[in-house]
């Protein structure tokens, strides 16, 4: 009879897990290589000077990506302004205030929201939010940066909530007990002790929320109007914008492979990749820096 050798099994499983672990690095490298290979020709054919101009009309060889950069950054910034208070507030409520029964209902609900396909939100956006914004704010059109930001905020909230809530839960119970024993009210405990103690986790949550928002495509393409305009002061918030992701999604389908336009779309992909890389590096930097300090406090 065949008897499994525990040492050999252990070694084999270790190998398999190692391969799985390294494969994600390999995939990332392959994706980055592919992006570079297809996007770098844009630098040669179109040139940096033409890429950083303010007109985007690719069928007539206007390849200025500045309005797209501006569009993505504006929508992301506004969306995080919305997702931050709601997301952190919900996390605090679930972790610190809600009674157990309510907690058990709220957590799965937030997860369902996280699993909502963005095209569904986009559809609701077109049918409900766009006409509503146009009427109530008396805008020229409801397809505006702010409408996209509201929907993106909704998409980012579940990400922010679940990570921030994990961070709050990780704060030792003794901290709260100590604060309450010193006579602090519940609000003072939350604001003065729990949230600061979970600060790094909450910052990571926000960073990942930003990443989620920046990469979102479908909902934003459906409600922001996709007009590649340059900013004109604060009123730009209420004007249509065109994001980088929406541009890639709507134009990649019909572009001729190997053309200048094709290369520029991949170049936009590189820009997006670099942005999300920066955000992820910031997120991990924030969390490791935080950990070191807490280790210092404990020692």
């Amino acid at each position: 009879m065949f008897k499994p050798n525990p040492i050999r099994t252990d070694r084999n499983v270790t190998y398999i897990i190692k391969i799985a672990g390294y494969s994600s690095i390999l995939f990332l490298a392959l994706i980055f290589f592919f992006l570079l290979q297809n996007g770098i020709p844009a630098l040669k054919e179109t040139g940096l000077a033409k890429l950083f101009q303010s007109t985007w009309y690719p069928t007539e060889a206007y390849f200025g990506i500045l309005p797209l950069l501006f569009g993505s950054l504006l929508v992301t910034f506004l969306a995080i302004l919305i997702a931050l208070p709601f997301g952190v507030g919900t996390a605090v409520f679930i972790s610190e205030i809600a009674p157990r029964a309510m907690k058990e209902i709220l957590k799965p609900l937030v997860e369902i929201l996280a699993g909502m396909p963005s095209v569904v939100l986009g559809f609701i956006g077109i049918v409900v939010v766009v006409p509503y914004m146009q009427r109530t704010l008396n805008l020229p059109t409801g397809q505006a940066a702010i409408t996209g930001a509201i929907l993106l905020g909704l998409i980012a909230i579940p990400t922010v909530v679940s990570i921030a809530e994990d961070a709050l839960n990780a704060v030792p119970q003794s901290y709260r007990q100590a604060a309450l024993a010193m006579g602090a009210t519940r609000w003072q405990t939350i604001w003065g002790i729990t949230v600061p103690a979970a600060k790094t986790g909450i910052l990571t949550a926000i960073m990942l929320g930003i990443g989620r928002t920046l990469g979102e495509t479908m909902a934003v393409m459906m409600v922001t109007g996709n007009a590649a305009v340059m900013p004109e002061g604060l009123q730009s918030i209420f004007m249509p914008v065109r994001t980088m992701t929406a541009t890639i999604a709507s134009e990649m389908g019909e572009v001729a492979k190997g053309s200048a336009h094709y290369a520029v779309l991949f170049f936009i992909g590189i820009v997006l990749f670099i942005f999300s890389l920066i955000i992820n590096i910031l997120a991990s930097w924030v969390s490791t820096r935080g950990r070191k300090r807490s280790e210092r406090i404990l020692s």
């Binding site: 309005p67 095209v119 766009v130 146009q134 393409m221 996709n226 709507s250 134009e251 019909e254």
Partner: protein, 295 residues
């Protein structure tokens, strides 16, 4: 939305391809389809192409037609690379595309199989009824920015268009924005909203009294107001319809094309012949497109 539509279309195509195959096997196992025609291209024409294929396969059980969208450019590229038998295009083939075809060893054959009138639409609350092409050109170049300049209410104008890779967009740019002047290099002004689907344009025009948009007559619904157009002020304003598109009084209607690799033969020739027959053209009017003259 476009992507979803495309997915639905792919699913529909599969059903279209598979259903007759299944049905036939039940009825008579010897009579399975022997001829296959692939048909790819314009998203504007995909509903039309599907309707034709469906009807034709009902009558000719030995022919199998698979229809996919993807856009005029995609269809022509597939024709050039030999992956489709018939390419649908809502614009004529470009010279460089014809050159590539000849390099690949064939001369593309062009068939005009229907016409499409482009309707210019506004919200029903908008009092403006007619516009000249020059006025529309100025609107889309951001030289006219308020409806009051056109005899309407004091409201900002919101311009809507399809995405720049759509055949409809290209046609509108050349014929209306540039007024047919080949040397004119003006483009849609950046404030123009580029919406990913025809449905998106109809929805925004329906809900927004500031909006102006354009789309193929086949996509227009009752909820929006179609404008009468004239080439110049001296000419009468004409609403788009089958008859005004065919007699040329409506200024912006275009041909819809099918392209084959060289002179078509066999099943493909029969199919194209059927499409331009009265029976095939009846389907054209049912879908809101304009049948070609002489039938």
């Amino acid at each position: 939305m476009e992507i979803v539509t495309r997915k639905i279309l792919v699913a529909l195509t599969l059903i279209l391809v598979l259903l007759p195959a299944c049905a036939k096997r039940d009825a008579n196992s010897n009579n399975s389809p022997s001829k296959t025609i692939t048909n790819t291209g314009s998203d504007t024409m995909v509903n039309l192409a599907l309707a034709w294929a469906e009807q034709y396969q009902k009558e000719h059980t030995d022919v199998l037609i698979s229809v996919t969208g993807g856009g005029s450019g995609t269809g022509i590229n597939s024709l050039l690379s030999g992956t489709t038998d018939i390419a649908n295009a809502s614009r004529a083939m470009k010279d460089e595309e014809k050159a590539t075809a000849e390099k690949n060893g064939f001369k593309p054959q062009e068939f005009v199989i229907a016409k499409d009138a482009i309707a210019v639409i506004v919200n029903p609350k908008n009092p403006v009824k007619d516009l000249t092409l020059e006025q529309i050109s100025k609107i889309y170049k951001c030289e006219i920015n308020n409806w009051a300049e056109l005899g309407g209410e004091d409201r900002p104008i919101v311009r809507l268009s399809r995405e720049s890779n759509s055949g409809t967009h290209v046609y509108f740019l050349e014929t209306v924005v540039r007024l047919g002047d080949k040397k004119d290099k003006s483009i849609f002004c950046p404030k123009t909203l580029l919406l990913p689907s025809s449905e998106g344009i109809i929805a925004e025009v329906r809900d927004n009294p500031n909006a102006i948009g354009y789309d193929g007559l086949g996509y227009i619904t009752e909820e929006v107001k179609v404008l009468g157009l004239a080439k110049e002020l001296s000419q009468p304003f004409v609403l788009p319809s089958e008859s005004t598109a065919n007699d040329g009084t409506y200024p912006i209607s275009r041909n819809l094309f099918m392209y084959t690799r060289g002179e078509p033969t066999g099943a493909i020739a029969d199919y194209l012949q059927w499409i331009i027959s009265p029976e095939g053209q009846a389907i054209v009017s049912n879908l809101g497109f304009v049948p070609i003259k002489g039938n």
